[in-house]
Symmetry: C2
Subunit: 468 residues, 2 copies
């Protein structure tokens, strides 16, 4: 008997251990979710607060006497339309409000028309209207444009229309019903929008803006790391942080849906922070698509990185200089573009790098033309040639990204960047950067800057022309 009890204890203990393990796992996931984006915790608290606020309709006697059980619609509105970003909440709120108003009015109208048909005719007329509008509205929801922005509105339209016209069949106070539903929904919607917008708002537009900039930066990071990885320049092979940089671009490949959703939300948002109301959000889709195109080439490039067939070391070393130049200049250009997008300045500082990468492309081409390669077996050249060709493609893609960012800059009236020349750039691109500048005074300032920077002064490089 005792041994059986011990056995039972053992089973119980192992179960308990497994349970504790699972709970710990979940707690870890929760902690990570919160740390990755603390706005999630704030959002959860905001939902709780909005719901508690709307509960006052129940707690306070005068309010409850006014709304009665209809207070439930306010509660429901809060739960259903409170979304993570302001744009999504506003979009759902406006959809719900307008659809309720319109469908309520139509429902009341149908109710009066139906009541003309007598006791037997009424349910038939109402029934056919409900059937027809449900079928038609459901079909309209398949239209891609409607689906993107007004899907929820049509859902609420079907719901409210059916509810109002059917309630009219059993209740006499149909106007009161429609009125109560509308006013409680407005109370709920208003609460949501105020709390969502005023307490630590999450702007879909800002998220989109940062996402697009981050994606461009990820490609820049990859290209920065690629040269070292491909030509085996870095000493320690198992450097994990390096590897993760080379993997980060993967998320760019599948970012299309996120970007589209964010654009749809952002279009509902009012002006906020650096963005005015009609910010050209759709241009971000064009930048995003150019970024993805570049990411596809990079994906093909990693195929070369991990391929069993590698080019001979001597061939690699022959083209190393120009390839490194191409990747590093593209990387710099992409990073400049990303930072220009982030800071909403004109991306002119990326241009010299793109020029440099194009020059490196031409030099690579003439290098390949030269007799340097004679006597090498062609099979050994192929992997290197593929890398070269993909890099040439990537230079073209980088220029495309640059063009789309320029278009965004002109559409959204980005301000001009302060001319800045950091010590590293001076040696490679300073003469091109001077060409960029508009007037003689600025030129002299930059020339002096260049001389100054050769003394390797630290930090505040971008303010160095100020003393003039």
């Amino acid at each position: 008997m005792e041994s059986e009890a011990t056995k039972d204890d053992g089973i119980f203990l192992s179960c308990l251990k497994r349970l504790v393990g699972k709970v710990m796992d979940t707690a870890c996931t929760a902690k990570k979710l919160g740390q990755d984006d603390p706005r999630r915790v704030v959002h959860s608290l905001k939902v709780g607060a909005a719901l508690t606020l709307v509960s006052l309709l129940y707690y306070l006697k005068p309010l409850y006497d006014g709304f009665g059980t209809s207070a439930i619609w306010a509660l429901m509105t809060v739960v259903v339309i409170f979304e993570y970003s302001v744009g999504a909440t506003l979009g759902k709120g406006l959809n719900r409000g307008l659809a309720t108003l319109l469908a309520g009015a139509l429902g009341v109208g149908v109710h009066y028309v139906a009541s003309l048909f007598g006791n037997i005719g009424e349910p038939i007329v109402i029934g056919s209207f409900v059937f027809l509008q449900a079928a038609i509205s459901t079909f309209i929801r398949f239209f891609p444009r409607i689906k993107a922005r007004f899907d929820y509105g049509f859902l609420i339209f079907i719901l409210t229309f059916s509810m109002v016209s059917l309630s009219g069949f059993r209740e006499n106070s149909i106007i009161e019903f429609a009125h109560k539903r509308l006013s409680t929904i407005l109370v709920g919607g208003f609460t949501c929008v105020v709390i969502c917008t005023c307490i630590c708002p999450v702007w879909a537009g800002e998220d989109l803006h940062n996402l697009v900039a981050l994606n461009i930066e990820k490609l820049g990071d990859f290209l920065e790391g690629f040269g070292n990885e491909y030509f085996r320049l870095s000493e320690d092979e198992d450097c994990n942080s390096e590897k993760s940089v080379l993997q980060a671009y993967k998320s760019v490949l599948t970012s299309k849906n996120t970007e589209e959703a964010l654009v749809n939300f952002a279009r509902w948002e009012p002006g906020h922070g650096k963005f005015r109301f009609r910010h050209p959000w759709k241009q971000y889709l064009i930048i995003g698509s150019a970024t993805r195109e570049c990411a596809y080439r990079i994906e093909a490039l990693t195929g070369c990185l991990n391929s069993e067939i590698q080019a001979q070391v001597e061939i690699k070393s022959k083209m190393q200089e120009e390839c490194m130049k191409m990747t590093s200049e593209c990387s710099k250009a992409l990073k400049e573009l990303a930072s220009a997008v982030k800071q909403m300045t004109k991306p002119s500082s990326a241009e010299p790098h793109i020029e440099n990468s194009k020059n490196a492309t031409n030099r690579l081409k003439s290098l390949i033309k030269s007799d340097l390669w004679k006597g090498t077996e062609l099979l050994a050249v192929i992997p290197a040639a593929t890398v070269a060709s993909l890099l040439i493609d990537i230079v073209i893609c980088t220029e495309k990204i640059s063009n789309s960012v320029h278009e965004l800059a002109s559409l959204a009236h980005f301000k001009s960047a302060k001319p800045k020349v950091s010590p590293e750039e001076k040696t490679e691109g300073s003469e091109l950067e001077i060409i960029e500048l508009p007037s003689c005074e600025d030129c002299s300032s930059v020339v002096i800057t260049v001389h100054e920077s050769s003394d390797a002064l630290p930090a505040s490089a971008n303010n160095r022309h100020m003393p003039l």
Copy 2:
């Protein structure tokens, strides 16, 4: 005066024309939407029918006496959970039903606990419970696994819990309230599920299955057309249907989200048609990811197709045979895989084509090794070398797709394909196909088949071994 009237008429007419034009445009879009997928029209009618059926709760006096105004919940349930596919509807229905049950029970419990705290304590206790559960549930919705499958359930949980516990504060018949809400939701949910499943059901699983097969086929189509396009074999350059085949693969690049959504829906579905209940839906994600990897290479390949720098014609012609062989064999393999997935048969017929494409790869490599290329300028070789290298990658990707399809076939117990040898395949792969077959009797049947097929008998080729 007359001229002004004419002018007004003119403006009116042009407005009318524009309006008519817009209406016609919309009608065209609607017609196209319906023609592209007639199930959309059926779905719209089904929603109308379900809503009309649930309206009977209002029309029929005995039913209305039972449910009263709670009939509204049934209406709402139908509008909200009736989704396009059975899986989505079932998922939402189960989420809604279970969440309502659980939250209703908890809400009643909290109501009783709160009532112990007296008149002043009660709203405070209820308020803090509502706040806490809303905040916690909202945070849980951020967990990726929960978001994928139980997002709607948690939404309804928050809603029902708040509604039931708050209603208890004002109404005494809280049990009746919870009971009515649950039973009307069950009526609405049941109506939805029955109509959605029984009348022309749209199965997410079937859609997923077909989508994955179609995506593989699109890659096959591209590779079939690519050879002709790259080596300019087709006569008419502006052949539009050819171009559209070369563009179709683009949708594969961004199919990830659709596939993931369909998998989540499909997992809710019961066994149907060819699929049993626990069909390995997740394996489709692996196939999809392998397919996308291949599509990324193809995207890079189109870069070569449209590049300004083209390989010299003579170089192209030197590698034409092997490249054509590689693309055509890969294309055949992919199409066999697609048709195997579609028909749920073992994809053994793809293997000889993969073998052939590997052999062609080896021949291409040795061709490149040979002295054939001597004296050619390397710059002219690079574009051709890139194409060759990408094609080699694509052969590897094709094998990966094949492996993932094989895994699906073994996980889902696909039946063996009937050995079929069509006249075209006989000349290229018949000896390999015979190797595939298990026993001597079958061999003889196929040998005879091969002989028969040389007489070019039409159609029912795959049944030709039956007479034995």
